[in-house]
């Protein structure tokens, strides 16, 4: 056995794979433990063997970014190893997510709790943006919560670097309900402000306990946004009429929609409103948001371990169907596989191309 294979085997032996806890388009997630320490981990098994067209972009992005990023509020990638034709990502085990908390109507969420979750999310996001990474898929479902209450940003399947001026990026990103209007109008040159809009809508959702702008189609999303927050004017958002997919919409008057987040207090309302500004340039940056008075006035953010948690832990994180969540369609359009296991497609050793010419 050569060096690389030995190394890989040593890494694979560090972990024990347990029961399956979730599944998605390109990966199954298993619970696992580290042999030596007994620490719980999640093992994400990427089904590369089934992919005729090579490793999926989303899987590749996830590996690429998580290998480089280390922050208390970003999910930690402990290890990567391969077994046969599968790539296994060993991630820290996080038992619930913000969506489960929002949905669990038995939980009472207070202003200090919202503040705490927002603070942790923004810290993680500020780290991402400082390092030139856009997340492009922030939603409650992707904000995971650890056993000691820390919020961690997960799922980097749509993330990418920004900062190459002039490079066009796709506008088909971010789950629709959390997508800012400039993307709905087809902006190809955007920056970290798209993630800030998502944070703003998540914050409203935490208070309202229901999605803030649950659009059914991309058009409906714009309509709902404007119905709620008024149609943007030239003053408020200069240049929005030049966006590629701009189309005139019905004029909706401004109304004080922020009454629904009044429980956050005056500073909280101001902070969220600045995150949800129509003009991407005027929107608060993650860094500015962290310095906002909302986080320094009383009540103080709840300590992470005291935050409310749903009783039913370990809810399998079933990934919602693509069309429903507004995720861009994967090229080959393979709908997700709902079957339990997929051992069939593992090719027998003889047929494989050898990495080396001589084995």
């Amino acid at each position: 056995m050569d060096l690389a294979a030995e190394e890989n085997k040593r890494r694979a032996d560090r972990w024990i794979k347990g029961i399956k806890v979730g599944e998605g388009t390109f990966a199954n997630v298993y619970k696992g433990t580290e042999k030596v320490t007994g620490r719980q981990v999640a093992i994400k098994k990427i089904k590369i063997g089934e992919m005729k067209d090579g490793l999926d972009m989303t899987a590749l992005r996830e590996v690429k970014f998580l290998q480089e990023l280390r922050h208390p509020n970003i999910i930690e990638l402990c290890d990567v190893f391969s077994v046969k034709q599968n790539i296994n990502l060993v991630l820290e085990f996080l038992d619930t997510d913000l969506e489960a908390i929002i949905r669990d109507k038995d939980l009472i969420i207070q202003q200090a709790d919202v503040k705490s979750w927002m603070l942790m999310t923004l810290r993680g996001l500020e780290y991402l943006h400082r390092n030139g990474v856009l997340h492009r898929d922030l939603k409650p479902n992707n904000l995971l919560i650890s056993a000691d209450g820390l919020t961690k940003i997960a799922d980097f399947g749509l993330a990418r670097e920004f900062g190459d001026p002039g490079q066009r990026m796709t506008c088909q990103v971010i789950t629709r309900w959390y997508r800012p209007p400039e993307l709905l109008w087809g902006s190809r040159h955007y920056s970290s402000s798209v993630d800030m809009w998502s944070v703003g809508t998540i914050c409203v959702e935490l208070v309202w306990r229901a999605p803030f702008l649950p659009g059914e189609t991309d058009l409906d999303q714009l309509k709902r946004t404007f119905e709620m927050m008024g149609t943007p004017t030239d003053d408020e958002w200069p240049g929005h009429k030049e966006l590629p997919d701009y189309h005139p919409t019905a004029m909706h008057p401004k109304q004080p929609w922020w009454t629904i987040i009044a429980p956050l207090g005056a500073e909280g309302v101001e902070c969220v409103r600045e995150m949800l500004k129509y003009d991407p340039k005027a929107r608060l940056t993650a860094e500015q948001a962290l310095q906002h008075r909302f986080f320094s006035v009383l009540p103080r953010p709840t300590a992470p371990r005291l935050l409310p948690k749903p009783k039913a832990e370990l809810r399998p994180r079933a990934l919602a169907p693509d069309e429903f969540t507004g995720k861009p369609r994967v090229e080959n359009g393979n709908s997700m596989k709902r079957k339990a296991e997929s051992p069939a497609v593992e090719p027998s050793d003889g047929k494989r191309v050898a990495r080396r010419l001589f084995v």
């Binding site: 005729k52 490793l55 590749l60 690429k64 290998q67 990023l69 670097e161």
Partner: protein
Amino acid sequence: MSSSFWSSSHCRYWLVTRSHLLAARSLDSQYATPRQLYCLGIWFANLIQKLGKKLNLRQIPIATATVLFRRFYLKNHYCETNPYLVIAACLFVAAKVEETPVHIKVVVNDAKIVFTENGIRMFSPEPTKVGEMEFYLLEDLDFHLVVFHPYRSLLHICGREPADSGKFAKSRVEEDAEIKRKETEARRKHEDARKVSLGVGRMNAMIDDVSGGEWEESEEKRIRRLMGRGSGEGLMDIDEGVVQMCLFVINDTYRTDVHLLYPPYVISLAVLYIGFCFVAKNNPTGTRTTRGSSFQVTNLASSTDINAALGLDAPPTGVAEFFASFEVSLPILFACIQDIIVLYPIWEAFEPMSRGADAKAEKDKDSFTSDDAEALVRRMIEARAVALTHPDTSSYQLAGSKRRRP
């Protein structure tokens, strides 16, 4: 990009020592001379470049592919793999890493075309093979995919690009120039207005007044504005010709091992040094003008002002001071420079630029040119196969053999 260089996998795992490099190549060096191996490096880098261009990839994905290729061969050997398959896989992966994905079938088809043009028959155009090689490649790269390139740090050192991941629309030089222009305009308008009201007689005194008094505030603003970008270093304005030359030299460095040995900022400084030397050499006459415009680093006036206003040392005035102002080990910098310039004579012998030169007619017995590369790769693989099936045959015997296959 994506995370700072210092905490990146590139910095932590993929900068190796020269002895590591030699050890990694010990097996290959049983079947080829060090010079031949070096030339194979050039040959494979050229193929990656050609295939990358064919796939319409930009320079960055091509550069990434080349570095991934070299990283793969830190753990593998030319003589035990199919390097052409690895090339196709590297480009396929690098295109995805740099967010300009190409479909695997396109990679395979274009690879077939490019490789056939170059007389390579070892590549069979099957997407599944490239797909599988992609997996081994990722595995041997330990799934570390982010590669830092010297292009960005070069442009930053030269003040061409803000090193702040695009937070600012303009580079510091551009921004400074624009503000200066606006100020001059404003000042002229102001003067005109004054001229009308006060008459021409007291012009001189008035100009002093204007430049000394009212404009001080905007100068202060500029200091704050430029310093707000978090960089206190002297601002260099380096001649465009030098920068262009440097970008070409960086493209060439991918034919060497420097990307495995040195961090990107050292490479960009080394390249800048080479760029200055080139320009100085090409302009032996008219030293005066050269000194003024390009050879000597010209400071932007504002940079001097800013440093003075803030009580900092004046920015460097010449190339030597400029290089001295970086806290970089000079021996390492010069080793890197040496590693880059050594490429050129070997490359020239391998792929003569001037084909017509009759001097090359009496072909040296030991010479090794691009025409022989493909044959050498095949020979190495065959020799390795023989060595593996007959372990007793000393492989060292084969190393020196000049046996040519028809």
